[in-house]
């Protein structure tokens, strides 16, 4: 029980800090950075739910993000739809793309899914440039209406969505469903032998992941008030994967921490100018070598262990605990 209470307390402190920070230091710059970090948080948890749990690496998460953002852009500017329609529409379109790529590739073993997602995002970016008459080319689509006029209000909306997404995905990951997804990562053949429809679970989790990413993309579009082909870039996917790596893959809550940490770090790297991406890529290589299990989740697990020992809690392993350690 204590384990649960400690987790809840930490989550409450983090969310509280995120919510209070812009009230203490009221600056548009800070609100902007925090909004972006919350959106990246949504992308990172949604990546982790599919790829972290099932071990099927998605190298083109930017496909869903871009598709969601462009759906929002088209609906809002070409059809003049109310901005709130963007969110459900973006989710539907992202899910369609997830089915298009997931159905052929996820029933196979091997690296097909990872590479097909990468190809999908690269080609979508090319198409946005090639069909510039409709998509605005390099410039993208401009002049989207904001979802909520007040910047602070929008930030709280995004933060609320991040918390809700994380809670739902965490609950799913710790449920029977999550157990199956982890089992798929462990040994797919055994799962099939046990009568589990492995392909269904993999595709279903991809669909959930894509819906969240698409909604995040639409929010990003309505935050930037424009969409550009850069959303589809491989760099976007890699940034998200790096966040998950830093957070601790397969832990769901870790990637949120990783996303917030890295967005803030990226802001500090601003003075590096055009060296920024270079620093980022080198950091990624160092992380892969020296922190293969991540930073945020392992740190928290150790800290929690320390706190628990102080509270003289008898160390009874909880099922979720064991699962987490395997993760």
């Amino acid at each position: 029980m204590l384990r649960h209470r400690l987790d809840l307390a930490a989550a409450a402190v983090l969310v509280g800090a995120m919510a209070v920070l812009p009230l203490v230091f009221p600056s548009n710059y800070l609100i902007g950075v925090l909004t972006v970090s919350a959106i990246y948080g949504i992308w990172a948890v949604s990546w982790d739910f599919m790829s972290g749990l099932t071990g099927r690496e998605n190298f083109g998460h930017s496909l869903f993000i871009g598709v969601g953002a462009y759906t929002a852009g088209f609906l809002n500017t070409s059809f003049g739809a109310n901005p709130w329609w963007s969110l459900p529409a973006a989710m539907v379109v992202s899910v369609l793309f997830a089915l298009l790529i997931g159905l052929p590739t996820l029933r196979l073993k091997g690296p097909y899914f990872a590479l097909a997602m990468l190809s999908g995002s690269v080609i979508m970016q090319r198409l946005m440039l090639i069909f510039w008459e409709h998509t605005g080319g390099e410039e993208g689509i401009n002049g989207l209406a904001p979802l909520i006029r007040s910047q602070l209000g929008f930030y709280y909306f995004v933060l609320g969505t991040l918390v809700a997404t994380t809670v739902v995905l965490l609950a799913l990951a710790r449920s029977h469903w999550g157990l199956i997804l982890r089992a798929v990562r462990g040994d797919e053949a055994t799962c099939q032998a046990a009568g589990i429809n492995v392909t269904f679970y993999k595709i279903a989790s991809l669909v959930i992941s894509a819906a969240c990413a698409g909604a995040g993309g639409a929010m990003y579009a309505h935050y930037q008030l424009q969409v550009s082909p850069q959303l589809f870039a491989v760099v976007t996917s890699i940034t998200i994967i790096t966040m998950v790596y830093v957070g601790g893959m397969g832990t769901i809550y870790g990637p949120v921490g990783g996303a917030i940490l890295l967005v803030l770090a990226t802001e500090l790297l601003r003075e590096f100018g055009e060296w920024r991406l270079m620093v980022y890529s080198c950091a990624l290589i160092l992380i892969l070598f020296f922190l293969p299990t991540g930073l945020v989740a392992p740190l928290w697990q150790r800290l929690r262990g320390l706190l628990r020992r102080k509270g003289k809690d008898p160390l009874v392993p909880v099922a979720a605990d064991v699962m987490e350690q395997q993760a």
Binding site: E57, Y112, M278, S281, L284
Partner: protein
């Protein structure tokens, strides 16, 4: 009609050089090398830098560039890929990270403008009433020779049979004393050299700029899926198919739609026959 035949053959040849290297390192070391496109970009940039800044003649510049990229490939395998070989995801991540570092390094040194790699021949050749740039014909000829040489090397030399043995059964190969780690380095070097050569040959008629590594990876993946992962004859046949399919689409519809061909081919093939045309047979 003749134009389609020639242009299709040229792009097929470039694709084949790219895809053969990509599939070779997968067939032997089970490594999916996402940095493969970077070798292609580095080859083109190497030739550009040596000829324009150091004023080298083109042929030594091209050879030096291929050699340097091959060494770089060996270094990437040694330093980055080998410690990660136990996990597929780690290999994909580290090679992608290497590709990003290369892209950024090229961007920081050369900027994002398009660069011109000089061609070996500037003349235009007329075949049956169709004007073809000499550099394209040269690309076709060289890649046919290089791939044929690779084939002979694998089939008829000691090192080649070691490569063949590892790709058929890595464990058994180790039992008979083949030093597989050393072979992996060699294969990575060959694969990187092939990609660099493709970059140099395609340089005169393609855009040379830092993000040029991305599309080749997509094309190589499509070819390798259609041909069967790890199969060299498969990737040659698939390269021909993709090269001609794209050319036909470009002439029949418009060049805008060519980029979709590779992704459609990949998805269709995975639905219809995931093993690829030559999959499930011996790797070579």
């Amino acid at each position: 009609m003749l134009e389609i035949l020639i242009v299709g053959a040229v792009s097929s040849a470039i694709y084949a050089m790219l895809a053969v290297g990509f599939t070779l390192i997968f067939g032997v070391a089970r490594v999916l090398n996402l940095a493969h496109g970077s070798f292609y970009a580095l080859g083109a940039y190497g030739a550009y830098w040596l000829t324009s800044s150091l004023k080298w003649p083109l042929l030594p510049a091209a050879l030096a560039s291929i050699g340097a990229v091959a060494l770089f490939g060996v270094a990437v395998e040694r330093v980055f890929v080998r410690p990660m070989r136990s996990s597929q995801l780690a290999v994909l991540m580290i090679t992608l990270a290497v590709a990003l570092v290369v892209e950024q390094a090229l961007f920081l040194t050369f900027g994002s403008e398009y660069r011109n790699v000089p061609g070996f021949v500037d003349a235009k050749v007329t075949i049956g009433g169709v004007d073809v740039a000499g550099s394209r014909l040269l690309a076709l000829a060289v890649s046919v020779v290089v791939i044929a040489a690779l084939w002979l090397f694998i089939q008829h030399t000691r090192l080649g049979s070691a490569i063949l043995a590892i790709s058929q059964d890595a464990q058994a190969a180790q039992y008979v004393g083949i030093p597989s780690d050393r072979i992996f380095s060699v294969v990575m070097g060959i694969s990187a050299g092939l990609a660099a050569a493709a970059g140099i040959l395609a340089g005169p008629f393609l855009s040379v700029q830092p993000t040029m590594w991305l599309l080749p990876i997509v094309k190589a993946f499509a070819i390798v899926v259609v041909g069967g992962l790890g199969s060299i004859p498969g990737s040659i046949v698939a390269a021909l198919m993709l090269g001609y399919a794209e050319t036909i689409v470009a002439y029949a519809a418009s060049t805008s739609w060519t980029e979709i061909v590779s992704v459609l081919a990949t998805l269709l093939m995975l639905v219809v026959r995931p093993a690829g045309i030559f999959g499930r047979r011996a790797a070579f």
